[in-house]
Symmetry: C2
Subunit: 206 residues, 2 copies
DNA sequence: CTAATCTTGTGAAATGATTCACAAGCGCGA
DNA sequence: TCGCGCTTGTGAATCATTTCACAAGATTAG
């Protein structure tokens, strides 16, 4: 398949949420214009995004809400469960482990790890923090699809190296630094301080 | 000034971190190629990014680390302190309130608010959670520059409406839904579930 | 059945971002 | 002072994304 822009994937994710919300309201069809209004984009953008994957709409009518939702779930790979491990059980790691938004969307937390003895054994929601020394063996045993990195900046790259060596192919980094992963590994970063700095620019610029 | 792409601002933020790290190592100059290698981009990209704001380098030599860092801080508006309020003291709000990464980069948390009586009065790091009913008055009194939204999805838009009406011009949303703000307000979202879904796509696609 | 009305799907055009490629400036050593 | 080597700054070219514009398919009302 042709390469799809990240911006398109991001929007598909949003469309899916709008479709679920729409369905909850009992509505059965939706037009590209409706989706565009919800997502702050244009109807042409919505149709173009969808057109990369086929044509699911009915001219004159719009899209079937359940059918389109199902198809987007398929495209994004959300029609299967994903297994997630969290490394680092500090403030952010603990918050992530207990964040219902992940579970709700099909991401199951199968392990939380830390090196600090004070944190090991602590229960977080339904899961207990384990010793980070068990990480490699647990990756082999539980084969998580994605690892969330919530350790201090200095330790982050080492964790990426370690988990990718153990076979993990997806990494989501919360440490405020760019990390590097071998080819074939999908790595993304959520950098909250960076987002604040972009806001700072927006409030300053002119 | 001409409009600057968000991708450029994001990279400037990264360059600044690399410069600070470089300075800690005692190095006094750095070339666009060095910065590019650290940030996973190209030297031409670095020079183009900087060129939007003037020319700070010395041909044949590179950039003065302290001078460039100072200039980028100026560009991003980090040469002044920013006052931040957090609305929502659940798992995520509490983690944000205690996140040292903000403080370190010049963002001071001046208030944390919640509606749940069980949370009000709870100390988080150096600050105590206050009753959300005090929010409007406190905005008037403490004039925060930026509000972080860490409330449940359903409540998020109402908070945006409320704080922008009270005069706040910067909002960083952590609820997993797009929010809308009046013109003149800078609003960004950090959507962790969305990032996981983009990873899901990357691990699925083809 | 026909006409009027919607809305999709998609090439083509426009806009935006990145990469290329190179002239020109500067430091350093001889 | 001169020449060499290095690195910047920047138009031009390329590549990517968004927007435009419209033919064509589908529904509904009469």
């Amino acid at each position: 398949m042709k390469h799809i822009a990240e911006s398109t994937v991001r929007r598909l994710s949003l469309y899916l949420r709008f479709l679920e919300e729409h369905r909850r309201k009992g509505l059965d069809t939706i037009s590209s214009g409706d989706l565009a209004a919800l997502g702050g984009t244009t109807s042409a953008q919505v149709r173009k995004d969808l057109s990369f994957f086929g044509s699911f709409g009915t001219r004159g009518l719009g899209y079937s809400v359940p059918a389109l939702a199902h198809r987007i779930r398929e495209i994004l790979g959300l029609d299967r469960g994903w297994r997630v491990m969290i490394v680092g059980a500090g403030k952010i790691g603990a918050a992530l482990a207990q964040y219902a938004g992940f579970r709700d969307r099909g991401f199951a937390v199968v392990g939380v790890y830390d090196i600090d003895p004070a944190r090991i054994g602590r229960p977080l929601d339904t899961i207990v923090v384990k010793d980070q020394r068990a990480l490699d063996a647990d990756i082999k045993a539980l084969h998580p699809d994605i690892v969330l990195i919530a350790v201090p900046t200095e330790a982050a790259q080492a964790i990426v190296d370690r988990v990718t060596k153990a076979g993990v192919r997806g990494v989501l980094n919360f440490a405020p630094t760019p990390l590097h992963a071998p080819a074939g590994v999908a790595l993304r970063s959520v950098d909250m301080a960076l987002e604040l700095e972009i806001l700072s620019y927006a409030l300053t610029a002119r």
